[in-house]
């Protein structure tokens, strides 16, 4: 039996086509996912992301606990409300999940993890707390719904639903900061490459909030548009672009691993140091299909007879009107490659991510061949 968010009945009422996503019955689109994609790039859209799991970690030992649990360093979180993107690794350096952690106060951090990994993540966190004998309370906030309001007009639209003082506080948030607004938690984060907010709010308030945003011109958007938006924005999807068998360095996530200070011991550190020392680490990169067709995960990348790797994600880019994807390739892969699509080799280019930020194309095709 698929799990349902508190907004399930509203999605059906709005005509959504529903699909299974990580065990949840979720809206993939409300008509045209390409239209929904453009709405977010050009104006504003709203997504139900209540299937994601909000976890509050409280207690005196919380900072020490997270410092050891996460590959990024929570010591970077000094101002209340500041958010940090991090991987949670196993001892082999494999990515158990990617998450956002918010610093609320010295005894309270909030973590948002993926839907498909929520049960395993909670079990892992609790087992580590017990193993390390740290006194922290780990609470799954099933009482909260989560909405993502994204696009150039999104922040104003959401802020208009807040009280005057909260409105000012929310609009004053810098990127990757959040604040409490009454019973809501509003953060300037997202998964689309556009400005916007992610909002955690009591479940009963999700439906009237959604309707109010629709009335203000914010379009209902499904997971289909969410996927093409994150792909254009160069953001990884857990389970596609990384998983427990892949470490962050080969998943385009080296920037999220804090190896300094050298004396911070975190789960997976030794494995990552060994991988880095041995060299020749594969890389995750953007791929642009030069001709017609559609890139998909698991298509193979070739240069002449040598196979260099495969696509981890692929789709059609509504903004660029061509097919784009991510691929994990050997470190010495040239930038001009071929992709095997149903037995045909089609020319493609490896490009630096992201493809699109804030509505604009932002990569360049290298003018000459180089091995990077």
């Amino acid at each position: 039996m698929a799990r349902k968010t508190v907004l399930h009945a509203l999605h059906l009422e709005l005509g959504a086509r529903m699909v299974d996503f990580g065990g949840w019955d979720m809206p993939v689109n409300y008509g045209s996912q390409i239209e929904e994609h453009h709405q977010v790039r050009r104006a504003a859209g709203i997504f139900d992301v209540s299937h994601m799991c909000v976890v509050d970690v409280r207690g005196e030992g919380v900072r020490t606990f997270l410092s050891r649990l996460l590959a990024n360093d929570v010591a970077k979180l000094r101002q209340p409300g500041k958010a940090l993107y991090s991987c949670m690794l196993n001892e082999a350096g494999g990515v158990l999940d990617d998450l956002i952690v918010y610093f609320l106060n010295d005894e309270w951090f909030r973590i948002v993890v993926n839907a498909g990994t929520r049960d395993a993540d909670l079990a892992w966190m609790r087992a580590r707390a017990e193993e390390w004998q740290v006194a922290v309370a780990i609470e799954e906030r099933i009482d909260l719904a989560m909405l993502a309001v994204q696009g150039p007009l999104a922040r104003e639209a959401l802020a208009d639903l807040l009280s005057e003082s909260d409105r000012g506080a929310a609009l004053a948030l810098k990127p990757f900061f959040g604040c409490e607004c009454g019973h809501w938690f509003v953060a300037r984060t997202g998964y689309t490459g556009e400005d916007g907010f992610e909002v955690m709010l009591p479940a009963a308030e999700a439906e009237p909030t959604w309707r109010a945003l629709n009335a203000a011109g914010v379009a209902s958007c499904g997971l289909g548009a969410r996927d093409t938006l994150r792909l254009e924005a160069g953001m990884n999807l857990y389970g596609n672009d990384m998983d427990a068998t892949r470490h962050p360095l080969e998943s385009g996530l080296a920037w999220t691993v804090a190896l300094e200070p050298a004396d911070r011991d975190f789960v997976g550190r030794a494995a990552l140091e060994a991988a880095r020392a041995s060299g020749g680490v594969a890389r995750l990169t953007g791929v642009l299909l030069e001709g017609r067709g559609v890139l998909r995960g698991h298509q193979k990348i070739f240069v002449q007879d040598r196979e260099y790797g495969e696509l981890t994600s692929g789709s059609y880019s509504p903004t660029l009107e061509c097919s784009i994807g991510f691929a994990r390739v050997a470190h010495d892969c040239p930038n001009r490659v071929e992709v095997d699509i149903r037995g045909k080799r089609l020319p493609a280019r490896l490009v630096k991510l992201p493809f699109v930020r804030q509505g604009k194309k932002c990569f360049e095709i290298p003018s000459e061949e180089s091995v990077s």
Binding site: R17, V28, N29, S32, Q33, I34, G224, T228, R292, G293, V294, R296, S315, Y316, P318, S323, R342
Partner: protein, 131 residues
Amino acid sequence: MSQVPAELKYAKSHEWVRVLSDGRVEIGITDHAQSALGDLVFVDIPEVGRELAAGEACAVVESVKAASDVYTPIAGRVVESNAELATAPEQVNQDCYGSGWLLRLEPASADELAGLLSAEAYTELLAAQGN
């Protein structure tokens, strides 16, 4: 509710067949199929002259979400493919029984048409599949 025009024949795999006045047949995907796929962004159609067996995978329609094979409901030789879909695949979403047709065949045998589903039978099939 999906549209199922009464004058067409259907295959269980969600293609439709129209018999043209010159005896050739036109093939496309049904309203149910285009709706399930979502926004189409690429259509790969067979070359003119190719001989197809009944049930053979003859085209690929790709939406943002996924690629899906199209199977020819009857055998025949491809005499025309819809070139406009190369630059406007969305026509399959907008008008799947009209400008969104995929290919035209010179059928190997007129008898095969009798084995296809009527509009009524295809509607029942959709209902039985929970649509």
